[in-house]
């Protein structure tokens, strides 16, 4: 295992070095991708080995960081699962990046920095899953945040990118402050930063301190995961980053927040009162619903996908929240069901969101715009990208037999099992969560009909879209890998769920729930609440399509086909201006949820000076500003700016004044010291 670990570090390191010396040409880009693919592949193998054998990988170098207990690494099965997720997300993204970064060859963008940071980012993220004491964890966490910040800032020439970077770095550091506070509180009780000591001392910590640690950790990890209302950086940073980086950040990095939450709340603290689970579940429901609602109104393809990441993190947290709740009530098989649903969705989201971001990147690459209103008809010009994007869209909409369905089914089942909790309030609020989760998935389907239909179908709405071209082979290959993963993970849950159960065995006192699931083709929940088989559904669908086609052929029913114009109520010729737009598509839902959106409308009609019956021009503008931007962040930012202004009065710029300050402060301190 040590060899694998060293090979992983070496591959990422070589990739980073190759980036710095290699330069912009295709060889340099290829080496960068090769380093990242090798590193991620070896990491995946290491993770898989730990999961398969159940023996954790331990490595401690106490000389490296003598202060806080040294660099301590330990890969247990929970960390190994997330290392596997990194590998699954990173290999296609790196492959795709080799082709995608070609566009930067003669631009003002540093390809060297991008390549180096890409590898270092993956390395830091892998180390987060390995960290075994507080100092290592926080350092690697910060390394992951900083490297990803540089990746977001790749196109720093643009104002919007700099703005996005600022939001990202401030939110991630606000999160870090919470984490440092949480871990300081925790280590104060344990006396050491090693995770094993924390785990041992968790039972001795008083209830109030445990609650504080949990809330701080939830906020800190939540800001990385993108829970509402700490998600504001996601829709800004993800579109700004290069698409293969967006795929990694959205598919993999935000999952580190989930990992941290599981590690602290379940593993180190060993679970807690029921309201912990309730809080996680409630925040999950709100994030899922608001994420998809704002995604529906978005016409920037990558921003739309970023909002969907908020939604999917919500779904993951619903599973984990339900798990924490069952854990409190001692219903261990059901707790495992909730966590398995959450973890399965982590894996699935990494594949389909990665796929969708790569698809959006190909579209951006071909049309040079992210605005869906200027796209259309791309299915004819980019057939492979369209097919892969369609698979991703169907998977994220939880349509059977793709992978989104399998994990959402498990999350649904864990919520339905909520009736087993012997507290009426909980059991009555669960149906509400079920309803909202169902609404979320219905809206997600509507949103992806919009995203795919407006982007890829009908006539091109701009000249760029009309002259789009298919992306290079390496990019197609990256997308194809993820599309296969979406299908594979969808039809093989019977193989994956028991493994997830084994991963969780022992974490926070969970039993090995793998045995609870029957290992045949169908997927059964522990309490026997439901049973289904995506494998057989997939076979059945294919079989039925084949049957229908052969029946039509057999009966020699008219196979003639004629191409003609779309039917248009007698008008001649069809232009793209007659098509439905993304705004129009989402309009009914905007009206239905107007109370949440509170859209701003502005209608300016310019009349003829002679008579108001002749309209010269009409201007219509509509905007939706999310309420958390308006009522949560704006006052905060304004007061911060106000405080900064007040502080500026002290900073007059005069050296004499500053010397006076020093003298005054010194005197005051001396007086205080004398009198106390």
């Amino acid at each position: 295992m040590k060899t694998l670990f060293l090979a992983m570090c070496a591959a990422y390191g070589l990739g980073a070095i190759a980036a710095l010396v290699g330069g912009r040409n295709s060889l340099g880009r290829g080496l960068v991708a090769l380093g990242a693919i090798a590193g991620a592949g070896v990491g995946l193998a290491l993770g898989a080995l730990v999961i398969a054998t159940g023996i954790p990988f331990v490595l401690s170098v106490s000389e490296l960081l003598p202060l806080g207990g040294g660099l301590a690494l330990r890969l247990d099965s929970l960390g190994a699962f997330f290392l596997v997720v990194i590998g699954i997300g990173a290999i296609p993204a790196a492959l795709y990046g080799a082709g995608y970064t070609a566009a930067y060859e003669n631009g003002g963008v540093s390809v060297r920095l991008l390549g180096a940071m890409f590898n270092l980012f993956l390395l830091a993220m892998s180390f987060v899953t390995l960290a075994d004491n507080v100092l290592t964890f926080l350092l690697m966490w910060e390394g992951m945040s900083l490297t990803s910040y540089f990746l977001v800032m790749t196109e720093a020439g643009e104002e919007r990118t700099r703005n996005a970077g600022l939001w990202y770095i401030s939110m991630t550091h606000a999160g870090l402050v919470m984490l440092v506070a949480a871990f300081l509180l925790f280590t104060a009780g344990a006396g050491s930063g090693a995770f094993a000591d924390l785990r041992a001392s968790a039972a001795l910590v008083t209830a109030n301190v445990r609650d504080t640690i949990f809330v701080l950790a939830f906020l800190g990890f939540g800001s990385k995961a993108g829970i509402v209302p700490l998600h504001v950086w996601l829709p800004r940073a993800h579109p700004a980053a290069p698409s293969h980086v967006s795929a990694l950040m959205s598919g993999v990095m935000i999952k580190m927040g989930v990992y941290g939450l599981l590690r602290v709340a379940l593993d180190l603290l060993g679970g807690g009162p029921a309201w912990w689970g309730g809080l996680v579940l409630g925040v999950g429901v709100v994030s899922a619903l608001l994420g998809v609602l704002y995604a529906l109104m978005e016409h920037d393809l990558k921003r739309l996908l970023a909002f969907h990441s908020v939604e999917n993190i919500g779904i993951i947290l619903i599973g984990i929240g339900a798990g924490l709740m069952f854990h409190h009530y001692g219903l261990m098989p059901l707790a495992a069901l909730g966590f398995i649903g959450g973890l399965y969705h982590v894996l699935n989201h990494a594949t389909f969101k990665g796929l969708l971001f790569l698809g959006a990147g190909s579209v951006l690459h071909a049309t040079h715009t992210r605005n869906m209103e200027e796209m259309g008809g791309l299915i004819k010009r980019m057939p492979w990208t369209a097919l892969f994007f369609l698979i991703g869209a169907a998977a994220i909409s939880a349509l059977p037999p793709l992978n989104g369905f399998a994990s959402e089914w498990l999350v649904f089942q864990s919520l339905l099992a909520g009736v087993n909790i012997p507290v009426p309030e909980v059991a009555v609020l669960m149906p509400l969560a079920v309803g909202l989760l169902a609404l979320t998935s219905g809206l997600a389907a509507a949103c992806f009909v919009k995203a795919f239909g407006i982007t890829f179908l009908a006539l091109p709405r701009s000249a760029e879209a009309a002259h789009a071209h298919e992306s290079p082979l390496s990019m197609q290959f990256g997308m194809g890998l993820l599309a296969l993963a979406c299908i594979g993970l969808g039809i093989a849950p019977f193989a994956i769920v028991p493994v997830l159960g084994r991963i969780l065995a022992g974490v926070g006192g969970l039993p090995d729930a793998g045995a609870e699931f029957t290992l045949n083709v169908s997927l059964q929940t522990p309490s026997g609440f439901g049973q289904m088989s995506p494998t057989l559904i997939a076979c059945g669908l294919l079989l039925l399509i084949g049957l229908v086609l052969s029946a039509l052929w057999l009966f020699r029913l008219n196979r003639q086909m004629r191409l003609s114009d779309s039917w248009g109520c007698g008008r001649v010729g069809q232009t793209a201006r007659m098509e439905y737009t993304a705004t129009a598509f989402a309009e009914p839902l905007r009206r239905v949820f107007a109370e949440i959106y509170r859209p701003m409308k502005e209608l300016t009609v310019d009349f003829h000076p002679g008579s108001k019956y002749f309209v010269q021009s009409i201007e219509y503008r509509s905007e939706i500003t999310p309420w958390f931007d308006q009522s949560l962040y704006r006052p905060f930012l304004q007061s911060a700016a106000f405080v900064a202004l007040q502080v500026r009065r002290l900073q007059a710029g005069s050296l004499h004044l500053y010397l006076l300050y020093i003298a005054v402060v010194l005197t005051v301190l001396l007086v205080v010291a004398r009198w106390s």
Binding site: F412, V428, G435, L439, L457, A458, M532, S533, L544
Partner: protein, 312 residues
Amino acid sequence: MTYVLEPSQPLFAVALAPLVVGFVHWLKARMQNRTGAPPWQPYFELLKLLRKEVVVSKQASWLFRCVPYIVFASTVAVTFLVPFLFVPQRFDSVGDLLAVVYLLLLGTFFLALAGLDPGTAFGGMGSSREMTVAAIAEPTIAVAIFSLALGAGSTNLGRIVRQALADPTTAISPGHLLAFAALFIVALAETGRLPVDNPATHLELTMIHEAMILEYSGRHLALIEWAASLKFMIFLSLLANLFVPWGVATDFTPTALAAAVIALLLKLGLLAVLIAALETRVAKLRLFRVPELLGVSFVLALLAVTSSFLLR
């Protein structure tokens, strides 16, 4: 034996579905003092469409030509899971109620994409509205499933039916009645009946389903129409057999099966009369009133779960 008999149930449903729709149309005509087409008219229409040539829009892509098969196959796949005459035994573990809902959503998803494909305003309008209605109907279905699952301890249809047969009093429990009302409203919305969508209109700005499939013709249209009538029958049979499962055969004796056929026909007939009467009496709602109706159904479903939990 079960391997031979079980696939006969979907076959039966696929064959009977056009008749159910034709029967509702015929009833409606009678209630409106018209002679109306005979109940078996839909079969002639399907045959006619299957024989005609297909006209495909120049602007449409390959997706447009695949969608009818996906829609038909996914709807037929659902019929394997639904207890029409008897409780599926081999197929019961293949999918539960959630799988049924999401398989139907699969068809809606692709149909909505096909509506956008030819690039006409009508198609987009239909897709947008269909997805809106489908999305808002989803929570009611999920919560109604919850309420049914609560009683049976399972989301699998076979378990629900068997539980209800074993304990007949559940059929008249308040939770069941409320869930029935909720699911009935949703069934109207999902299958495009009044007051949500008017199946009789063609080329009006109010239409939803018809606008979406406006570009289809020939065998493509036949498959989509057939799938639509099948979906209608699935919803009616779910309403009939999950809430009032009397008559559903649990073994494969000829008498039990004959009784099951008669019981199903009676129940479907009753529901058809109910829907025909409703469609004669009720006007179509404005599109933006539909969420209120579905909101009512959601509240009914929530009340259903709460009461079945409290009365458990």
